[in-house]
């Protein structure tokens, strides 16, 4: 348990990031491999990780790019995926308490991914850390470094790197569905069931009726409308 009178350090943040880094590296590696397999150069793969830094968005970006989706449709879809992140900042600062520093939030908040948010909130809630911007820098940097290193390693290995390893290739190919499923479980609550059910149903219907792109857009819009209509989502974190 952290000393309540002492704010957590940068190194404490780095240590807290260790489990995230161990998970991020192989996922980012599979992104690097998938990116080069999709025809991107290693530099382009790393650039996507440096600038976007959102796993699901990056994988979906590959799918949209290779499917020839229109630029604006791709941009809207990828941006819409991460709107959920607007909830993280207020939740974290509320947990940090009144007077918590946020002078450098413009920098450390870029690293506020699903996992970093979850780890930070969990550490603060269990009193294993006291909020500080240095702690957030350490936590975010550990995760970010693992993401970039994994991407670079995967891009360096190249799209053909796994041709002699079909089992590993198959396992890495399931990373993205597994990540989405695990994320879905992490936000699942009774209040969200109508939103999730409608989004999933519309995705299937629109995909089969029209196209995968229509399925993704239709599912998101239909699910969000269910929330606006007040049929679900009032008790989201």
């Amino acid at each position: 348990m952290a000393d309540p009178a002492q704010k957590s350090s940068f190194s404490h943040g780095l240590v807290t990031a260790a489990p995230i880094a161990m998970g991020y590296f192989p996922i980012a590696f599979s992104f690097g491999v998938a990116a080069t397999r999709a025809g991107l150069t290693g530099a382009e793969a790393v650039m996507l990780s440096v600038i976007i830094y959102a796993g699901a968005s990056q994988f979906l970006a590959l799918a949209l790019i290779t499917s020839g989706a229109p630029f604006l449709v791709s941009a809207f879809t990828l941006v819409a995926m991460n709107i959920r992140h607007v909830l993280y900042g207020p939740a974290l600062m509320k947990r940090a308490g009144a007077g918590a520093g946020k002078r450098y939030a413009w920098l450390w908040a870029f690293g506020l991914t699903d996992e970093v948010f979850g780890a930070a909130l969990g550490a603060l809630a269990r009193r294993r850390a006291q909020f500080s911007e240095r702690f957030m820098f350490g936590l975010g940097l550990g995760a970010y470094a693992a993401w970039l290193a994994g991407t670079a390693a995967g891009a360096l290995a190249g799209g053909g790197a796994l041709e002699g390893w079909p089992v590993l290739s198959a396992a890495l190919g399931f990373m993205l569905p597994a990540l989405f499923l695990a994320l879905l479980l992490s936000i699942l609550s009774r209040a969200q069931v109508p939103v999730i059910a409608v989004a999933g149903t519309v995705t299937v219907a629109a995909t089969l009726w029209a196209s995968p792109t229509a399925g993704i857009l239709g599912g998101m819009v239909a699910g969000a409308l269910v929330g606006v209509l007040g049929l679900g989502g009032r008790h989201a974190r």
Binding site: P19, H85, G89, M93, K102, V195, G232
Partner: protein
């Protein structure tokens, strides 16, 4: 480097940064908890994640045992480890490992 790819990354990355940073400066708790904006924010995340989970799993659904077996193992692996450890990272890795293991067997 393709200009379109860089432009796409800058737009998406810029919005990601804004989504993550700007709310740390605002007090959204002052918003009416049952307002339309609050409901929209609350529903968008789950809707996006549910949509993407379904969209990524849908192409893998098939009647062929050799292909559905690894899928079932992967899904069960994610479910089992998530409810055991409550960790997205560990559940993801376990699902991929289970998928690969059954893929090797069948």
């Amino acid at each position: 480097m393709h200009d379109n790819l860089l432009a796409l990354a800058l737009i998406v990355g810029g919005c990601n940064w804004a989504f993550r940073f700007l709310p740390t400066q605002l007090d959204l708790s002052a918003q009416a908890p049952d307002g339309a904006w609050a409901r929209f924010l609350a529903a968008t995340g789950p809707a996006a994640i549910a949509t993407l989970a379904v969209a990524s799993l849908l192409p893998m659904v098939t009647a062929r045992l050799a292909e559905i077996g690894p899928l079932l193992a992967g899904v069960l692996g994610v479910l089992a480890v998530f409810f055991w450890r409550r960790s997205v990272v560990q559940a993801t890795l376990a699902g991929a490992a289970a998928y690969g293991a059954v893929f090797a067997l069948v």
